[in-house]
């Protein structure tokens, strides 16, 4: 009996042990299933979803940049890249067949494409880039396994390199890198969208699978104030002068005084907008929009600002007499005329016409530093113009308040004829516009309209402030007319139109408190004098033969005005300037 119980006990124990093990295994399996299917369900469900869902980021067309008349300066064109899956071309015979077919559609040699695919160890590789629509359609019709097309739009420039620095260029990711392409990237680029779809084993979209789409927003078209013809003429005339005088560079700004709209902004050297080579230092130099990034000592053109200050304060009139002894002393420093001579009895008009430094210093001393610098700053110098262009600098104006330890009476004298302070061509163009616009300083305007998904948005001209009285403006314009009349028609000639102008010739600062033996030649003019419609500032850097603004820069003004005035249907008034 005891033996039976023992045998029974042994077998019972074994049975229960087996049952226990099975139960334990079953419990482990159930626990694991609970973990996988209940606790971790969201994670695995998401992983499974991701395995058979694909997402593509889509972007709509980048907006175009148009000139003021609607002609495109930069626009996007659809282009396509051919992508090949390495696995699809793993078999050499299949690869050769597919590559031969592709070659006939793309023009890329079959061997080149096969080499590209074999040279990398990635899932998919581009074998042909920048295909046009016809080529892309041919590739699509081949319906080759493992071959697909992706959009890779390219930027095209119907006007070539016109306005290169202003427009700028985009990177390989389609985002703006320089110029307006960068400054207006958010407007031009639109917003990216996405397509999520269920795919089959070879990556093709399932016809009745899950699909969701967030549409991309197209970029807005931006209409500039720039006129393509005026811009081209400005660039051509500037380059002509730079070549003729072997200058190192230069800038031209053409504006409408009444609106502040910039019709042209040219800088030289420039670069090839269609194929910018960023490894070339010359390209980096040419990308700079010198009209806003480069501050320079303006020289005698600044005498207009000095004269405007004294006229507006009622301290002088064009006929106010003064005696030019050829030199004047400020704080122990002696100021002399550019020709190192004295001119005896003179008037304020004579000071401006003959560009006498001594007279300008005397006029500034009449104004006093507080008044002088208040007007200088009111004209917009020493602060960005608010153009919105990246890289714009403020220039440098030292005043008794801003630089008490670094300012002396002689600075007032040198500043009066444009030395010891720096401005940008755009700043000076806007100040010149204020003189031509009844004393009202306008904000420079580059964008006229934005035509986007939300509709057409017109940008209105913006007044900054009234700087001088309208009477002062008229008086100064007439004085500029006298100055222009004194310039030889060999350099300044706008037949049929009367011009108001002032030239400048300034030594280039060496950055250490002294000056180099090179010059910046400049010329500021408005036309027609009776009712100015255009103000033009020309700056030529370091001409090699002659330094004079009248000789180097005035012909650029003439060349632009001669061509642009008839083009813009601006009627002449008054007698012709020069010849």
């Amino acid at each position: 009996m005891a033996g039976k119980r023992k045998r029974w006990s042994n077998s019972t124990w074994r049975i229960w042990a087996v049952i226990g093990l099975i139960a334990l295994g079953g419990f482990a399996i159930v626990a694991r299933l609970v973990q996988l299917q209940i606790i971790d369900h969201p994670r695995y469900a998401e992983a499974a979803r991701e395995m058979h869902l694909s997402q593509e980021i889509i972007s709509d067309r980048r907006g175009a940049i148009l000139d003021r008349n609607g002609y495109p300066l930069a626009a996007s064109q659809d282009a396509y890249n051919v992508m090949v899956e390495r696995d699809a071309w793993a078999n050499p015979e299949d690869a050769q067949y597919a590559a031969t077919q592709l070659s006939s559609a793309t023009g890329v040699p079959a061997k080149t494409m096969i080499d590209i695919v074999n040279s990398v160890d990635v899932f998919e590789v581009p074998v042909a880039k920048g295909l046009n629509f016809t080529q892309a359609t041919a590739v699509r019709n081949l319906q080759l396994n493992g071959v697909r097309l992706i959009d890779d739009p390219v930027r095209v420039y119907p006007e070539g390199n016109v306005g290169a620095q202003l427009l700028g260029f985009i990177g390989s990711d389609g985002a703006g890198l320089t110029g307006l392409e960068a400054d207006l990237n958010a407007v031009l680029g639109g917003a990216a969208g996405s397509i999520t779809y269920e795919r089959d084993a070879i990556g093709q979209e399932l016809a009745v699978g899950e699909r969701s789409e967030t549409p991309a927003q197209p970029g807005a078209n931006v209409v500039l104030t720039i006129d393509r013809y005026v811009q081209q003429i400005a660039e051509q005339e500037l380059k002509k002068a730079i070549d003729a005088h072997q200058a190192s560079g230069g800038s031209v700004v053409v504006t409408q005084p009444r609106t502040g709209q910039v019709l042209a902004i040219a800088s030289y050297p420039s670069f090839d907008l269609t194929k910018p080579n960023l490894n070339d230092p010359k390209t980096a130099d040419g990308i700079r929009n010198r009209a806003v990034t480069d501050a320079y000592e303006p020289g005698s053109v600044f005498k207009l600002i000095t004269t405007a200050t004294a006229l507006d304060l009622g301290l002088v009139t064009p006929e106010t007499p003064w005696f030019d002894s050829g030199e004047i002393t400020f704080g122990g420093w002696t100021i002399r005329n550019w020709d190192l001579s004295s001119h005896g009895d003179e008037t304020v008009q004579g000071m401006l016409t003959k560009s006498l430094n001594v007279g300008a210093a005397w006029v500034a001393s009449l104004c006093g530093p507080d008044n002088f610098y208040n007007y200088v700053q009111a004209f917009g110098f020493g602060a960005p113009t608010g153009s919105g262009l990246s890289g714009e600098v403020s220039g440098s104006i030292r005043t008794p308040q801003t630089a008490p330890d670094d300012w002396g009476p002689v600075d007032l004298a040198t500043n009066s004829f444009g030395q010891g302070l720096t401005v940008t061509p755009l700043q000076y163009a806007m100040a010149l516009g204020a003189i031509a616009n009844g004393g009202t300083l306008m904000k420079p305007q580059f964008v006229r309209e934005v035509d986007g998904p939300d509709g057409l948005q017109a940008i209105q001209p913006e007044v900054v402030r009234q700087v001088i009285k309208p009477e002062t403006s008229r008086t100064l314009l007439d004085m500029m007319g006298v100055v222009a009349d004194s310039v030889s028609s060999d350099y300044l000639s706008v037949p049929g139109y009367k011009v108001g102008a002032k030239s400048g010739t300034a030594q280039v600062a060496d950055g250490a408190g002294g000056y180099k033996a090179t010059y910046i030649s400049s010329f500021a003019g408005v036309v027609p004098l009776e009712n100015p419609q255009l103000s033009i500032i020309v700056k030529v850097d370091e001409p090699k033969d002659v330094p004079w603004g009248t000789v180097v820069a005035a012909p650029v003004f003439s060349g632009i005005a001669q061509k642009v005035l008839p083009y813009l249907n601006i009627p002449p008034g008054g007698k012709a300037a020069g010849g």
């Binding site: 067309r61 148009l66 008349n69 609607g70 002609y71 495109p72 626009a75 064109q77 659809d78 046009n132 629509f133 359609t137 095209v156 119907p158 006007e159 070539g160 016109v162 016809a207 009745v208 078209n221 209409v223 393509r228 013809y229 081209q232 309209e449 035509d451 509709g455 057409l456 037949p495 049929g496 001669q562 249907n569 601006i570 009627p571 002449p572 012709a576």
Partner: protein, 141 residues
């Protein structure tokens, strides 16, 4: 009487059990088979429709791309360099070497116009007339 009832029962059973059962089974099998095909038919229809939509979308995109390419061609043909080339090479025009200006007592000509397709689309002006509510209020004494 009883014999008659038994005969009717047998006849009915014959109809249901002998003659009709295979038919019922076949019909049932066909119904089940057809029902099983329904999702396939639906799926096929949906696939065809999706395929049609995809084709039409592709055609729409192709036409849009062609249109944009043509617009760009127009832009390139309207460029200053293209105009200059036509003027010089086809029309044999050149730069004037003796420009003479004459002044006439007449208003300046209108500004040049550009092709309308190159200009931004004009936005419709908002209605400035009275609203219906204003009209109703206006009728009140």
């Amino acid at each position: 009487m009883a014999a008659s009832q038994r005969h009717e029962t047998q006849a009915t059973a014959g109809i249901l059990g002998f003659a009709s059962m295979p038919i019922v089974l076949v019909v049932a099998a066909m119904i089940v088979g057809l029902a099983a095909l329904l999702p396939l038919v639906q799926s096929s229809g949906a696939t065809t429709t999706v395929g049609d939509i995809t084709t039409l979308q592709q055609q729409r995109d192709d036409w849009q791309t062609r249109l944009e390419e043509e617009q760009l061609k127009v832009a390139q043909m309207s460029s200053l360099s293209a105009i200059r080339k036509i003027a010089v090479e086809r029309l044999h025009m050149g730069e004037a070497d003796d420009i003479r200006y004459i002044t006439v007592d007449a208003p300046a000509p209108a500004a040049d116009t550009v092709p309308s397709q190159l200009l931004p689309e004009e936005q419709p002006q908002p209605q400035t007339g009275n609203s219906l509510l204003d009209d109703i209020i206006g009728l009140l004494p």
